[in-house]
């Protein structure tokens, strides 16, 4: 199974960075601080998570703590899915 981080990184690079080289995004980079994701982008990210990871993102979970870097999103998915590993 493809690692969660890989799938997230691919989504962010394709969808928000439009193919900017891999090196330009580290797994700890803040999406907002680096100007990668804006307010509409958050909704796109949520739609992607709900569709591809079969989770439901509650309104109160829409916070930078959960969603603002590849690592944060991966940890959030694992918590939601109750998985120890991706």
């Amino acid at each position: 199974m493809e690692k969660i981080e890989h799938r997230l990184r691919k989504f962010v690079i394709d969808n928000f960075l439009f193919g900017e080289p891999n090196g330009s995004l580290s797994d700890d980079d803040s999406f907002v601080e680096k100007g990668i994701i804006d307010s509409t982008g958050i909704l796109e990210l949520v739609a992607f998570l709900e569709k591809h990871f079969q989770i439901r993102v509650e309104d109160e979970e829409l916070t930078p703590d959960n969603l603002d870097s590849v690592n944060k999103v991966a940890a959030y998915i694992r918590r939601k899915a109750g998985l120890a590993q991706g």
């Binding site: 960075l17 307010s39 909704l43 796109e44």
Partner: protein
């Protein structure tokens, strides 16, 4: 050359050619329809002028000149400039209240004198290569000359994809310059001299010139009188004058001033959108009912925007990142169809009187940045951009992340504008490798910093933000791409009471807290004129004029382009041909546009910016020669 800009002046055409000098003029007849033919000379034919625009105080100037012994053979404002120049030389512009671009040939001095109005309402471009000096109101007229090369200026692209406009005198075309607002120039014996005659000075606060904030009531009364007079002067015409009515407070105030303080019967015009996110027709109709104007509306669809974008770019002559100029292009067509050549609008009020959300955003961010650990201060962020769907309902933590304040930003002269410019700068990811290489190591912020007026860093922070907006975006986008160019495309002249230089000077000397009191935008203006407009318009939340962006080009539900030309211009072949953008990167954006019905601000700006840059390349670099020979202009 003149044939390329006949749309600006379809009523009359004239030329003057003598030895090495040639002047040509396409006239939109507004004052002195019978005898205002141009080029116009003085009595002994030693001065010849071509002039686009209006000198609104020409009657007062004429009286003064007649008292000094000057005799007039026409009733036009053009002749006033000639005699004013005879009296004061190049300083004549200091006496003029108006919007102008003119060139005056002084045969005795063998000197060409050119000038542009203080705020940059009227355009004036030029190029100087070897023994050739050419000027015109639009670049396409200069390009019609066979010796002029047509190339893009890559540094200008860098500027457009940062500031939404170029920094004057640079234009998007290499070696084509614009005379900056508030500047005059002379050309004599092959030497070109450009000099500033007026400085937009928001540094008055805190100096002996500052207005006393405790005289609030008197200042409101003074502003009201200035606005009445500025509007009265702008109704001077020998043709009927109309007004734009957007549904916002500024155009409603201008319309109300006409209704309440003049005898002018008034027709108003507005744009209606199908999409409720953009439509302001309910406020427009309230203003119409309240002010009892004869009102005309044009309905603008997404397909209209996509369809007319290429025509609009032919007129803007620069890439745009928003589609908002297109509906205004359709509106000027409606105005013209109703027999009007002149319209008053509320343009300039947000810049001068302190209305824009970017000012409010900067104020809140600075307030928060001063106590960054405060839990109360960032709650004000919820007051920002209520009309932006993506921001509504965001958690406070996310708002804090979006509007974060870095300590170093607080020291920047560009604090207010950094979020906008950094967002726009992200669009450069689509530039081709060659273009990125060309721009590597270059800082456009340094270019801008070098242009700032002396003492800028000591100005009030609110006034700094006002200056950046008024000196750059106002002439570089609002008054040009969204103003003169789309209005004159249909031979319609816009007039802007808020941009009367007396009002600009007054506002510059106002304490910032009278422009935005706490978070109430345009506080003094509302105090001065609030009784003239409907309560609902006065109290409504600020909504900037916007138009549908990517959705006017893409049908995401059916995964198709709405316009075939757009598909062609963002194809890999077309992108490779001009070499400005990277085909693979743009491909990913296009795929997203074809897939996602709602795109973020950045993606919307990217796709409009890329497409309109491609249109510029197609229309002005590649296909231009065909247009000249076909006479398609």
């Amino acid at each position: 050359m003149i044939r390329m800009i006949r749309h600006r002046g379809p009523d009359d055409c004239g030329t003057y050619i003598h030895q090495q000098v040639g002047l040509a003029h396409a006239r939109l007849s507004i004052i002195d329809l019978a005898s205002g033919h141009q080029p116009m000379s003085n009595a002994d034919q030693t001065l010849w002028i071509v002039f686009n625009g209006e000198i609104f105080n020409f009657l007062e100037l004429r009286q003064q000149l007649e008292a000094r012994g000057y005799r007039f053979s026409t009733r036009s404002d053009t002749e006033v400039i000639l005699h004013l120049y005879e009296e004061h030389g190049e300083d004549c512009v200091h006496f003029m209240n108006g919007q102008w671009a003119f060139a005056l040939w002084d045969a005795r001095e063998r000197k060409l004198f050119l000038s542009r109005d203080r705020l940059g309402v009227r355009p004036l471009f030029y190029t100087h290569t070897g023994r050739l000096f050419l000027f015109a109101s639009e670049v396409k007229a200069i390009f019609a000359h066979p010796q002029v090369a047509r190339r893009l200026d890559f540094h200008a692209l860098d500027e457009v994809f940062t500031y939404w406009c170029t920094l004057p005198p640079r234009t998007i075309f290499k070696d084509i310059l614009e005379l900056p607002p508030g500047h005059s120039m002379s050309v004599k014996d092959g030497t070109v001299k450009v000099r500033r005659y007026w400085q937009l000075n928001f540094g008055g606060h805190g100096t002996p010139h500052a207005l006393d904030p405790h005289r609030e009531e008197e200042l409101a009364a003074e502003l009201r009188q200035l606005l009445i007079d500025a509007t009265r002067l702008r109704l001077r015409a020998d043709v009927p004058v109309g007004a734009y009515l957007s549904g916002g407070i500024d155009s409603t105030i201008v319309t109300a001033l006409v209704k309440n303080f003049t005898e002018t019967p008034l027709t108003t015009f507005s744009i209606v959108f199908d999409d409720p996110d953009y439509d302001e027709s309910s406020f427009q109709l309230e203003a119409v009912r309240f002010l009892k104007t004869d009102h005309q509306m044009i309905r603008c669809t997404r397909d209209d925007i996509g369809k007319f974008l290429p025509e609009v770019i032919w007129h803007t002559e620069k890439p745009i990142l928003r589609t908002a100029p297109v509906p205004l292009y359709l509106l000027s067509k409606l105005v013209r169809q109703h027999g009007y050549k002149v319209v008053l609008t509320g343009e300039g009020s947000d810049e001068i009187m302190g209305g824009y959300d970017i000012f409010k955003e900067a104020k809140i961010r600075r307030f928060w940045g001063a106590r960054i650990d405060s839990s109360m201060r960032p709650r004000l962020l919820k007051r920002l951009y209520p009309y932006m769907r993506g921001l509504r309902g965001q958690s406070e933590d996310y708002l804090k992340a979006f509007f974060r304040v870095r300590p170093e930003d607080l020291l920047s002269p560009f604090f207010s504008h950094l979020p906008r410019w950094e967002l726009t700068t992200r669009l450069k990811v689509f530039f081709s490798e060659d273009l990125k290489q060309e721009l590597r190591g270059r800082s456009t912020y340094q270019d801008l910093e070098a242009q700032l007026p002396a003492g800028f860093s000591a100005w009030d922070k609110f006034n700094q933000a006002q200056y950046l907006e008024t000196a750059y975006l106002l002439p570089g986008y609002i008054l040009s791409s969204q103003g003169d160019r789309v209005a004159m495309a249909h031979a319609v002249e816009g007039r802007f009471p808020f941009l009367d230089h007396r009002i600009v000077d007054f506002a510059a000397r106002l304490p910032a807290n009278l422009k935005m009191k706490v978070l109430q935008e345009k506080y003094l203006l509302k105090r001065a004129t609030g009784d003239l407009v409907p309560e609902s318009v006065l109290r409504r939340p600020k909504q900037p004029y916007r138009a549908p962006e990517a959705s006017s080009l893409f049908d995401a539900e059916n995964h198709t382009f709405r316009q075939a030309y757009a598909a062609e211009l963002v194809s890999r072949d077309a992108l490779r041909k001009y070499g400005i953008f990277d085909p693979e990167t743009v491909d990913r954006l296009v795929e997203k546009c074809l897939r996602e019905p709602r795109l973020g601000v950045k993606d919307g700006m990217a796709v409009v910016g890329i497409l309109t840059t491609q249109l510029i390349a197609e229309q002005f670099l590649e296909g231009f020669t065909g247009r000249v020979s076909d006479g398609k202009n």
